[in-house]
């Protein structure tokens, strides 16, 4: 049976964004792969899932978020600690510049210290460039909650990264 052409197109258009979002939430490459797999299986087996959806990216991000939250709930605290120790998958591309490398590494660590709900908002705002209304729709929260979570998270990141950031500047 031929692969539906729109599935490949969907993958090409959205997989990178979904990968970065899920990796930021889960901090584990194998889990991220599982989430993407599950997501595309779901979409392929329910072709009508995307019918009438005006913002496919937002819809897929929401699906990825829900799957990631489910996976995190299934994992016990011990599993999470072991996983973190075993692999803290880097979210950012490897950099040649040593300052850039340190900055990216510290940012990845600081993001990992944020609660997942704040991390999700920061990711969608900074790297998906969504508005608070769009973030609210993806995460099923109010725009005000999205905005406040973002402010808290950015303050924490700024405090954590200030020494390095000032030094680089």
């Amino acid at each position: 049976m031929p692969v539906p052409a729109n599935l490949e197109r969907l993958y090409d258009e959205h997989a990178q964004a979904l990968f970065a979002f899920a990796l930021n939430l889960l901090r584990h490459e194998a889990d991220t792969r599982d989430i993407l797999q599950e997501l595309f299986v779901k979409v392929a087996r329910n072709p009508r899932l995307l019918e009438g959806v005006q913002d496919p990216r937002g819809f897929l991000l929401r699906l990825a978020h829900n799957l990631a939250i489910d996976l995190m709930r299934r994992r016990t605290a011990r599993d999470r600690n072991e996983q973190w120790a075993a692999e803290n998958a880097s979210l950012f591309a490897p950099a040649d510049d040593p300052d850039e490398k340190v900055f990216a590494g510290t940012l990845a660590e600081a993001l990992g210290e944020l609660p997942p709900e704040q991390r999700a908002v920061v990711h969608l705002k900074l790297w998906e460039r969504l508005s608070f209304e769009q973030i609210a729709a993806v995460l099923d929260i109010s725009p005000n909650t999205a905005a406040s979570r973002y402010r808290y998270a950015i303050d924490k990141l700024r405090a954590r990264l200030r020494p390095i950031y000032d030094e680089i500047q």
């Binding site: 049976m1 993958y11 970065a20 087996r45 700024r158």
Partner: protein, 125 residues
């Protein structure tokens, strides 16, 4: 709205999705064929030929059933006759083995007398 700090964060390049994932994910995500198609998949023509052969055999069998020689009836008649003979043989055997018992068990048969020897009783009132 974005501060310099936020812009700085946005500029960091994100890691690329591993290239080999696409083939693996899309292969697994593609819809599974129906069970019957999965069964027939290796050689559908061979299965179709086999099915056609069975249909021909079934058709021939049905056509033969329309003009039966009814061998069952003859067998049934023969077997009844045989059964009767067997029963007679058994009775004879029983008489030969124990004639006394046979006489006791079997009630005396009333053989009808010839009409000329019948006695006519007339009762005059």
């Amino acid at each position: 709205m974005n501060s310099g700090f936020e812009k700085r964060l946005q500029e960091l390049p994100m890691r690329e999705i591993p290239g080999q994932w696409k083939a693996q994910i899309v292969a697994v995500a593609q819809p599974q064929p129906a069970w019957w198609r999965e069964w027939l998949w290796p050689c559908p023509r061979a299965w179709a030929g086999l099915a056609a052969a069975w249909l021909v055999i079934l058709g021939m069998n049905l056509a033969a059933g329309k003009n039966p020689s009814r061998p069952g009836t003859a067998t049934l008649a023969f077997s009844r006759q045989e059964l009767l003979e067997l029963r007679q043989q058994q009775q004879m055997l029983a008489k030969l083995i124990s004639p006394g018992e046979a006489a006791e068990t079997e009630p005396p048969r009333q053989v009808p007398a010839p009409r000329s020897e019948r006695r006519i009783t007339v009762i005059a009132i």
